[in-house]
Symmetry: C2
Subunit: 279 residues, 2 copies
């Protein structure tokens, strides 16, 4: 089902590349244009079949009906503002950033048909080399419409993400940033922090427990630096709650309080059991 | 290769049951006796082929050449002391507990041929129902001999664990407890604590990042309560180091210090890359 004529993807990495592959496989657009700062990325995206043609310049978006901002989170606003004078009238624009509040505020002021989206399909892998036409299948995509969002735009964007295989969840941008700080930003801080604190000379004893707990410390460093700095209030609030929980366990151990420790572990374990297994 | 005539396993759960299955599959003993407080466990262990016969009483160990203490960590010492008047002369005794210092100190004083062992093959699964003859294949078993350990006993125990598929690492009991607090006890505290702090209403957004980071919060609660309370000094020291690392990340976010944050994340990520993938 063709949803768009020309789609332009700015930033052809894991997410942008997978969107391109997904659109082309399902024939959701006549043409996919990829824009990157790196000629090598464009060539690889073409070889992989994620885009029909590529450009080093954002001006290549002029003919697009849909522009997808899939660059790292700290450049989304800058690029979004830059294209505002270039896009053709009526064109939709979405982003795929991991934080939403600031991006949506700034870009819906500059772009008439902007919808914030966040596919929860990131990975410690990166780059178009790891892109896949089914990266999004079975995962969640959060859409963050506001009072300014056109219902027609929203319907088309919803349709796009459903075709790419995601379930749709609607959240306000602020609510998204608050919840995602707990389920994504906090776990990343913890994984990086745990790796920082484990002595190198103990690593030869690491089994699957430590490995799974720190898998996401393999995530792209600059991307995560920027995500954490783009959502500081929520991230710090989540971190404070986690520190409070750690201090409860610490106290129970210091006081040798088996009853209190069991209660904390049991409630945590029950909550963990309520999470569905991976897709 | 037969290493023992009769082997008695006290505690026929995931670990004890898997040792039984492994011994029987590889014909490492003529007979495996299982001892449990629960008739149901004995019956299940027999049905699964993990033991030849079972008993509700530890006195069933009288004829064993090897006694394996595979109960939860807080009952190992008590049971070890109890069997000291029952074992036949020359019989070997090992335990499989997750902490070693206290257990080895107490049991090598009471049992002439005791060797502390710790197979790093625990799982969030539990019970003989989940036991497997290859649970230990490819994983590490730490042996914690001391000056009192007989070299003949140590050689036989090493041989047993190698036959069961593990790589052997030798550590003093104290060193074991220190290193394992980082690679195992700390990650468990973190997983439980993260689950405690994530609000229930955000869980529907959880993707693989949160799930992997908290998988070990599915581990048996009472077992982990006891492990943490059996190794408090080391666990608290590891926790302190982790708290220090969290505070560094917190400061970098508060001060919007992109450079410091990148440095922390990068070093953590590089250290994580040095871990080999799961077996």
């Amino acid at each position: 089902m063709k949803l768009f004529n020309k789609v332009a993807i700015i930033g052809v990495g894991l997410i942008g590349g997978s969107i391109g592959l997904g659109i082309k496989k399902r024939k959701l657009a006549s043409q996919v244009i990829g824009i990157s700062r790196h000629r090598k990325t464009i060539n690889l995206a073409k070889t992989r079949g994620a885009i029909d043609y590529g450009s080093l310049s954002v001006s290549a978006i002029r003919q697009a009906d849909l522009v997808i901002l899939a660059t790292p989170v700290n450049s989304i606003i800058k690029i979004g503002l830059k294209i505002s004078s270039l896009i053709k009238p009526g064109a939709l624009v979405i982003d795929t950033g991991s934080t939403k509040d600031l991006i949506v505020k700034r870009l819906e002021a500059a772009l008439p048909n902007f919808v914030g989206t966040h596919p929860l399909s990131g990975s410690e892998r990166q780059g178009v080399i790891n892109a896949s036409d089914n990266l999004f299948c079975g995962s969640i995509c959060v859409l963050t419409p506001t009072a300014k969002t056109s219902q027609t735009s929203l319907r088309k964007i919803k349709s796009l993400w459903i075709q790419l295989g995601t379930r749709i969840i609607y959240l306000s941008p602020a609510r998204h940033d608050k919840l995602i700080s707990y389920v994504s930003h906090l776990p990343h801080i913890i994984a990086f922090s745990l790796m920082q604190s484990v002595p190198r000379h103990s690593l030869y004893l690491a089994s699957s427990g430590l490995k799974d707990t720190t898998r996401i410390a393999l995530s792209p460093v600059e991307l995560w630096r920027d995500i954490l700095l783009t959502n500081p209030e929520n991230t710090l609030a989540a971190l404070e709650k986690f520190l409070n929980s750690l201090h409860q366990i610490k106290s129970a151990i210091i006081q040798n309080d088996a009853k209190a420790l069991k209660r904390i572990l049991r409630l945590a374990s029950l909550k963990r059991q309520s999470l569905k297994p991976h897709r």
